[in-house]
């Protein structure tokens, strides 16, 4: 659709407006990476152990670095709160009046944002990876590459849909800030962003690994770390597709119902 291609282009242009803010923002995102690596170092030293769970320090660092790569695809900062704001402040109006689909529109905005981010973050990422090169396990086997790339792409779509689905709640509850914060924190844990899901108690691990959040981050990271074979990789892709299908239905129905409610109560 040409209109969404235009959305993509205009969003790219919009991203480059505030150059200083952009550079600082991109740069700042690397500070937590460095501090987290240092933090894990301190944890290993004070625990005086070679391994935590089944991971050595180097593995923990490499896990964390690859999480960053995966999150670069799957994270959607501010998406749910944007939707909440648009509902509360009546900015949805434009999308009801014009033949333009809000969800697809935002999907294209996010693609543009991601593209700009990858371009801008490529060099600092390369530096951090070079600095930590001794911990990294090396490239995954050649035959896993297509699966790795596919899982990152799907992680983007999955992250988008999860956040959209959460944002839809604001159709029913006017004020969702505290809820969104809670969601953000739990997503941080449940996706494996904070630490590998393998560190969880076994029963919890089994539950969490089934949730869509794990498919956003944890599984793609395991693939990229070379901890899965092709067969397992295909399972991950299948799981991602299944969750995407479920969430696409949820978002479509939720959106329709939400709009109906919006039209009945506010506008």
């Amino acid at each position: 659709m040409r209109k969404y291609w235009q959305v993509f282009k205009i969003a790219l242009a919009d991203r480059f407006v505030y150059r200083t803010d952009f550079f600082i923002g991109t740069f700042l995102r690397f500070t937590p990476i460095v501090t987290t690596i240092a933090l894990w170092g301190a944890v290993y030293r004070s625990a005086d152990r070679e391994q935590i769970g089944d991971l050595r320090y180097g593995e923990m660092v490499s896990y964390y670095l690859i999480v960053m790569v995966s999150r670069a695809f799957g994270s959607m900062p501010g998406l749910a709160s944007t939707l909440a704001g648009d509902i509360r402040e009546g900015n949805l109006r434009k999308f009801i009046i014009q033949p333009l689909n809000y969800v697809i529109y935002h999907l294209h905005l996010r693609m543009a944002h991601k593209l700009v981010y990858f371009v801008m973050a490529a060099i600092p990422y390369a530096l951090v990876f070079w600095w930590c090169r001794e911990f990294l396990p090396g490239w995954p086997p050649r035959e896993l590459w297509p699966i790795c790339i596919a899982s990152l792409m799907l992680s983007f779509v999955l992250g988008f849909l999860v956040n959209m689905a959460i944002g839809l709640l604001s159709f029913w509850f006017l004020e969702v800030t505290s809820f969104l914060f809670m969601f953000m924190v739990s997503q941080y844990f449940l996706s494996g962003h904070q630490f590998p899901l393998t560190l969880l108690p076994e029963w919890l691990e089994r539950v969490v690994k089934f949730l869509p959040f794990a498919y956003e981050t944890f599984y793609p990271v395991m693939l990229l770390l070379g901890k899965m074979d092709i067969n397992e990789g295909l399972h991950v892709i299948g799981g991602q597709c299944a969750w995407i299908a479920v969430l696409a239905v949820v978002v479509t129905i939720g959106w329709r119902r939400g709009l109906r409610r919006y039209a009945a109560f506010g506008g």
Binding site: W5, Q6, R93, I97
Partner: protein, 328 residues
Amino acid sequence: MSVIEINNLRKTYRVHIKQEGLLASLKGFVRRKYRTVRAVDGISAKIEEGEIVGFLGPNGAGKTTTLKMLSGLIFPTSGEATVLGYVPWQRDNAYRRQFALVMGQKNQLWWDLPAADSFRLLKEIYNIPDAQYHHTLEELTTLLGITELMSQPVRELSLGERMKLELVAALLHSPKVLFLDEPTIGLDVVSQSNIRACLREYNRDKNITILLTSHYMQDIEALCKRVVVINHGRLIFDGKLNEIVERFSEHKIIKFRFREGDMPDDLTPFGEVLELAGPAVTLRVERSQVAELTGHVLANHAIDDIAIEEIPIEEVIGEVFNASEPEP
């Protein structure tokens, strides 16, 4: 068939009553009280192709709610409406391509980018063919005198300039029906008159149907032959603008300038004295008395000048609003 047909349209909202004070807030947190507000309470009207209709009423009268229903943003509680043969709240794409809504207090242009970028996006959204797009854009920007503003980021523009660009954005896809909610709010006199001139010319050229709300009577007087007045969600007048004055104003203003020394000592029997400046006097006189009074004055006094005027339209409208307030 009329372009816009509204039949007994109603919209009620349930609003949460919140009393003052912390204790009341806590109570409200546990158990909410609601009140039903009738925003639009049974309005009917027909608007023909090419008409510009002014939609008047005090704040909270239900104007914006009606416009929202007609643009499909909200569902009515009951009643019917069609615009161009479509039921607005069914949100047909075919309908959405044929109307536009401009709200003076909201904007749709990308804030940090030049308007040209937003226009290009609208071109794709509405599938406007190249030739038509360039033609319309040129026509509108010339009409509003804003050709040179196209390549400046919108945030750097003044409110008036932005509003003109918003109007261009709304008209790019050549809608057949245009809803304007206070399009000149907060603008200076020159910008207001620019926008009015543009709307008038555009209406004449394209025969576009326009329904507009405004608190500026100049907007209404300059653009609308017909006005619809509502208050508390009910229709109180639908007809020609000058008929409002005839129907709702029981007085006229008469200005006499008496010849030196020939001014009556007591003017009060003639009517209410509004202004007295030397030999010039301004009176408010009941409509039925106007002919008799002027005859009497002309017969008995030497007059240099005389003028009979209608009460200013703002005042009449004010009276109409007041008269339609429910009894306490």
